[in-house]
Every structure is written in structure tokens, then in C-alpha cells.
């Protein structure tokens, strides 16, 4: 039982990171129906920006987090403007290939500048090195930090999407782009804003993962990116609470499989879940069935 609770704690920490990445995927998919393969690489860049802030400028965790989020936001918007906007009316596959191109560009461009070797985050100071014991369950301060930051960011996101004008515009565009445009919504700006929000969350996830696992490399974004996408599909792609639930679910399952079964199979299980959910309920946990129209 205690081991089970310990796995839950670890699963929730990992799940928070997946949930943050999955939110970006799900928002972008919801608004322009694009699987943004470059999203995992924005997360990688967030980790690198955090690394440079903390190693060379000796900034604390929170300032580094904010800087990483700001730079990732900017990058997300630039990528959207340069690579995706000209293809607004092209076929889906063309946009998807472009997204893959952007992803490769970010990966190997980063590799060119910072070299391929694995880097480790500087050791944490002060309260962040503590760990707390509840019975025999160990909760580290880093895990608490990850979960707290994730919850704050999610609450903030919910506020933006549900309570602000731009959030309303986002919801309108994802519902029906043409109708939203007729209502006087600036669709291009709304899409850019969606990319900005998603990228900021991915950047935050990157720096949190750097703190948690303590090692980063230029190709670190591929697998978590794919898993976060699985999380988004699991919860129902395009649905924001779905991405959160999916992220926590995938994170917990992964930790459970690694803890009780064979850790080599943890990635395979995630993809098996994906295929299963796609066959049983392709619209995801919270998704609605859509009827086919002629």
C-alpha cells in the first residue's frame, strides 16, 4: 500500500509535466487541427533556456521559469507566423510535414549550437533540496514545486480561456473559424495567441523536467512530446480539462508500469493505451461523438 502511494506521488509529478505539454497540443489541435510536432521541441528549448539562466546567470528557479516561458512564447509565435500561417489553406498533410520540418530544425539546430552531449542542471539550493516524510512515503520539495507550479499555470489558463475576451475568441475560432471571422474576430491573432499560450506552458514543463530529472539533451523532446500527445488524445483532443486528466493518467500509468512491471515496457504500454482508446472511443474520454455529414 505504501509503495502504491509512493508510486502515485511520483506519477502525479510526472503527470503534471505531461499535462502541461498536452495542454499546448490540445489547444493548437483544437484551433487549427494541426498535430504540432514541434511542440515537444519547444519543451526541450524551455529546458535549455532554464539551464542557461541557472548555470550562467545564477538566477533562481522562479525567475528562470518566467524567462524560459517568455522566450518560448516568443518562439511559438515566430514559428507559427513563419511556418504555419502561409499554409493556412494548404492540405493538412503539407502543414503536418512542415511541423515535422520545424521539429527537426529545432532539434538539430539546438544540437548544432549546444552540441549533442547530455547536460545536467546545477544543484538546487535551500528549501528545494529538502524532502518530507509522510509515514514511509517520501515527497521531495521538487515534486511539490512541480505540482504547485502546474496547478497555478492551469488555473491561470482556465481563467484566460473562460473569463477573458481573447479566451472567448479562442473558443469561438475552435468552434467555427469562418463564423468567428464573420463576427469580427481576428483569427490570425487568435491562433498566434493560442500558440503563445501553449508554448509558454511547454517551456515551463521543460524547466520543471530539468529540475526533476536533472539531465537534458537536444533530443529529449521527442518521446515526452509523443506521450503528451497520447495524453491529449486520451482526454479528448481539443478539450482542455481532458488534456489535464490525460496527462495525469499517462504519468501515473507509466510510473506504475515501471514500478511493478518491467520498466523497459513503460513506453510500449503508453502507446498500447493510445491504440486501445483510438479503437474503443476515438473522441477520447471527454470528447463528444460527432456525426458524419455529407
Amino acid at each position: 500500500m505504501e509503495q502504491f502511494l509512493q508510486q502515485i506521488v511520483n506519477g502525479v509529478s510526472l503527470g503534471s509535466i505531461y499535462a502541461l505539454i498536452a495542454l499546448g497540443y490540445t489547444m493548437v489541435y483544437g484551433i487549427i487541427k494541426l498535430i504540432n510536432f514541434a511542440h515537444g521541441d519547444i519543451y526541450m528549448l524551455g529546458a535549455y533556456i532554464g539551464y542557461f539562466c541557472m548555470t550562467y546567470f545564477h538566477l533562481g528557479v522562479i525567475p528562470s521559469l518566467l524567462i524560459a516561458m517568455a522566450i518560448c512564447t516568443l518562439l511559438g509565435v515566430i514559428i507559427e507566423r513563419i511556418a504555419y500561417k502561409p499554409l493556412r489553406n494548404a492540405t493538412r498533410i503539407a502543414v503536418l510535414i512542415t511541423a515535422i520540418g520545424v521539429s527537426l530544425f529545432l532539434e538539430y539546430g539546438t544540437m548544432f549550437f549546444v552540441k549533442a552531449n547530455v547536460r545536467s542542471y546545477p544543484p538546487l539550493k535551500g528549501i528545494l533540496t529538502h524532502s518530507f516524510k509522510l509515514g514511509s512515503i517520501v515527497v521531495t520539495a521538487q515534486q511539490i514545486l512541480i505540482v504547485c507550479i502546474t496547478i497555478i499555470l492551469m488555473a491561470f489558463l482556465q481563467f484566460i480561456v473562460k473569463r477573458t475576451r481573447i479566451g472567448k475568441a479562442m473558443r469561438a475560432v475552435s468552434l467555427d473559424r469562418d463564423a468567428a471571422e464573420l463576427m469580427g474576430i481576428n483569427v490570425d491573432n487568435t491562433i498566434s495567441f493560442t500558440f503563445a499560450l501553449g508554448s509558454a506552458l511547454a517551456g515551463a514543463a521543460g524547466i520543471l523536467v530539468g529540475i526533476y530529472y536533472n539531465s537534458i539533451n537536444p533530443l529529449m523532446g521527442i518521446l515526452p512530446g509523443l506521450k503528451a500527445f497520447v495524453a491529449a488524445v486520451f482526454g479528448g483532443i481539443g478539450i482542455i480539462p481532458g488534456a489535464m486528466i490525460g496527462g495525469y493518467f499517462i504519468g501515473t500509468v507509466e510510473v506504475m508500469v515501471a514500478g511493478y512491471g518491467n520498466s523497459m515496457f513503460k513506453d510500449a504500454v503508453v502507446f498500447a493505451i493510445l491504440i486501445l482508446i483510438l479503437i474503443v472511443k476515438p473522441s477520447g474520454l471527454l470528447g463528444k461523438e460527432t456525426k458524419e455529414k455529407v
Binding site: 498535430i35 498533410i93 503539407a94 510500449a268 498500447a272 491504440i275
Partner: protein, 323 residues
Amino acid sequence: MNKLAEIKGIKKWFALLLTYVIVQLLVSLNIINDYIMATITTICINIILAVSLNLITGFTGQFSLGHAGFMSIGAYTCAIIIMRYPSPLSFIIGLFLGAILAALLGFIVGLPTLRLRGDYLAIATLGMAEIIRFVFLNLDITNGAAGLFVGVQYTNWLWLYVFTAGTVILITNFVNSSHGRACISIREDEIAAEAMGINTTKYKVIAFIIGAFCAGIAGALYASYFYFIKPDLFGFLKSIDILVIVVLGGLGSISGSILAAFLLAIISSLLQSFPEIRMVIYSVLLIVIMLFRPQGIMGSKELSLSAFKSLGSIFERKNGGER
């Protein structure tokens, strides 16, 4: 008219044979060295992969991101068999066994997932390929992440050419048959195709089976030419590589896929001397091509001799006008 078709057919076979003989001659005379031969092998394998994926994605309109998974099944099956019984016969048996296993998997995966559409299918096939990779990573018989050292080379120009030409002819003929037209109608409008009485699931599964079969052959050829295989060679990136060839050449154009396979091989061998910047340039090229020519080099047109002829006649007419 019949006679003309006959002559055309003979000409085609003659051209095929001639290409084979010329390259074989160059190999025997040592004009084509090992390095060029390795490039030719890569091009041929890429042609098989791209043409077979083009059948699935370009002609039938089913978006697959898992082609490398089918390839890896062919590669591992063939490698395991020729490592046990190293002989040319077992190479051929292994090759076909690998292709059949890949086709079988294409069928098993195809049946349930083909109910999915567009992006969902892409993600499902991606998940399938990743699962295959993880299975190969964890099996004893495949030696896990370290991979297999095959150690014998049975893929020569003869087999390479036979299977490459075979795949291209098979898929061209399939596409031009009534089954092929059924597949194309699914791409154009699935609901309309269904309304016309086409069994869409059946044709989608057929496309997947043929595509997977050919990918299995390509994998087997790869395993017994390059000596060494490991699961990471057949990851997500490999599937993307194949898809890039197809999209670059033009979805629904077989000659486009062949052209793009050559073009990418040339580009990547030109970039060989800059290994660090190679992938960066490759990715920028990819983005630029998609931004300025999203339909690929050939669109859905085919390159053929008659196209050259009609081009020639336009040219002549223009010249005539000037005169």
C-alpha cells in the same frame, strides 16, 4: 492498336533489362565502387518504401506514420533466418517470410484502426510502429538495443533491381486497375465512394497489406546489405523520412516518389561532408519546399516518355511558329 501496345510493352521490358545490364556491367568493370553501390542500394530501398507508402497515403489517402514498423519486421525476420542458415536460398525465404509477416501485421493493425480517419489514423499507426520498436528492444532473439550483426551480404544488384522494379510494376499495375481506381475514389471522397458501392474497408486493408508487404521486402534487403540492424534504425524518424520522400515527390505520383528518392539521396550525399549542419539544412529544405510547393515536385502527375514527346511537340510547334 493491339500491335502498338505490344510493341510498347516489349519496349518497356527491353528498357528494364537494359538498365539492369548496364549497371551490372559497370559493377563488373569496377566503375561503380562500393560507395556508389551503397548509395544505389539506399536509393532502391527508398524507392520501394516510398512507392509502397504512396499507395497507402498518396492513392488511398490513408495517412500512415508507421511504415518503418513494417520495414523493421521484414528486416528482423530476414536477419534472424540468414544468421541461422546462411545461404542465398534462405535469404529469399527470409525475405518473403518477412514480407508476409509484415503484410499479416498490416492486416491485423489495418482492420480495427482503419475505422479511424486522418490524423487519428496517423497517430494510431505511429503508436503501432513504436510498439513494434519497443518489442524488438525487449526480445532476446533480436538482441535488444544492441541490435543484430547479420554478417553476410546477400543483397546484390540482381535482387535489388528485381525487387525494386517488381514493386514499382506491381503498384503501378494495381493503381491502374479497377481496384486502384476504387482506392483513388476513397481518397477523393470516402462517403461518395461508399455510396457508389465500394467496400471502403476492404480496399483500405488491401492497400495496407500491399504497402506493408513491400516495406517488409525493403527491410529484408536493408538487413542483408548493411550487415547491421538495431531497433532505433526503424523509429519515428525513419517513418518520417519515407513520408518526406513521398510528399516531396508528390502524393499520388509513382514517378515522383522515384525522382524524390534520387534527389534526396543526392542531397544527403552532398551534405555528407557537413555532418553537423546536415540535418539543419535538410529540415530547412523540407519547410521551404512545403511553403512554396506543398503539392510536391510532380503533384499527382506521372513522368512518362509520352509526356516528353508532347513537350517536344509543343516545342516544335513553337519553333514552327517562329519560322
